[in-house]
Symmetry: C2
Subunit: 213 residues, 2 copies
Amino acid sequence: MASPLEKARKDPESVKAKILLAARRIFGVYGFHGTTIRMVAQELGMDISTLHYHWGDKRDLYEAVVLDINHDLGQNLINVEKMIHGLALPDRLAISIDYMTEYLFAHPEISNLIIFRYFGKTREEAGIDFKVPEFTYDIARSMGLVKNKKNVSSHVMLMVLALMNSMHCFISGEDFFRPIVALNRKEYIAEAKKALKFIHIPAFTQGSNQTDK
Amino acid sequence: MASPLEKARKDPESVKAKILLAARRIFGVYGFHGTTIRMVAQELGMDISTLHYHWGDKRDLYEAVVLDINHDLGQNLINVEKMIHGLALPDRLAISIDYMTEYLFAHPEISNLIIFRYFGKTREEAGIDFKVPEFTYDIARSMGLVKNKKNVSSHVMLMVLALMNSMHCFISGEDFFRPIVALNRKEYIAEAKKALKFIHIPAFTQGSNQTDK
DNA sequence: TATTGTCTCCATCAAATGATTGAACTGTAA
DNA sequence: TTACAGTTCAATCATTTGATGGAGACAATA
């Protein structure tokens, strides 16, 4: 009855949980086609047939990873929403950026996998999907940018998407960007946060008197 | 002597040029591991051995695609630099964003492939690379953001990277984002340009009196 | 016509990869 | 002890995929 994913979440010490973690990491680095189940198995020091025993086929494992990440991300967005409730727009933005950036830098495979899904295609289309549209709308709403309850302007949606993308890009592109700016990890994270706030807070605040055209 | 890539560029009607074009498109959609040479061959209605005859192995073809895209992108950045020379910063930004967005929307595989390279890994590391660091520095310079000739601040570099990333994300994510905002292609492109300018011009102009801390 | 060089494709190979099978090992309950 | 469910792994299979060989088609030229 309980899916492997549910079992994995129930007991973080279980083999299933370990598999899920390794799969997140490796799918996050190499993408779906770029990872082989042998890579995941080797990372765990176990046989590929043990993987199949616990999770079924490669697609099942990948979809479990996507679901798991969706769950984590949604959970954290809820947390943020609670933290910023009632504050002024610039503060809401600053706190959201700080919190989410910190969280995503600690789990870069989330940004990696979301970006893979946005910008790439798998040969066989997946039935499973990220909840980006829902998340985008939720963020716009919790930022107080949705004036007309049932008709969010495209402009606002694109602004929110741009903010999310900027964050994912800094996190996911760390290996590529950090050598360019010659910073250590700690400095890079700090500068990324700074840049995100520097760019997006003025954009949203100037927008507050024209977001809805 | 002349490489297949040079031959392809010399004669756009040649088989090699057709192969290069198809390879750009398909690598751009599915990434390196996600595309098979059979997919490229089928797209062209030719046999895989004909592909090998003209280009060598898969890696060669991929690297030719990367070189080709680098070349095109560099060429267009030079064009932009000429267009904006001598103008004020907000105008430089607006024109650059308009021009590059238009260009990249016409060749989305460029954004796709650059993003794949930023954010993903191939199992065997490629010897070939995108010239992002050089391009980033050139853009910062042509925007007039480089004050100290030999020491560009990390902050400015990250700002430029964020701008480039925002553009690539809107272009590369069109299939994913456009249904969310419910716009047709023409409207989406217009809104993307608007959002990019709306977000990044204030960021850079407010930054002109504190870019170098 | 014969020759040569260019190009294309069918057939095939070898390696990589996803998936399965059956034996063996473990601990627990009867 | 025996029986059984849960787990792991070595061995193996079938398909996909990158790559090659050799024969044939075609055009240009002597």
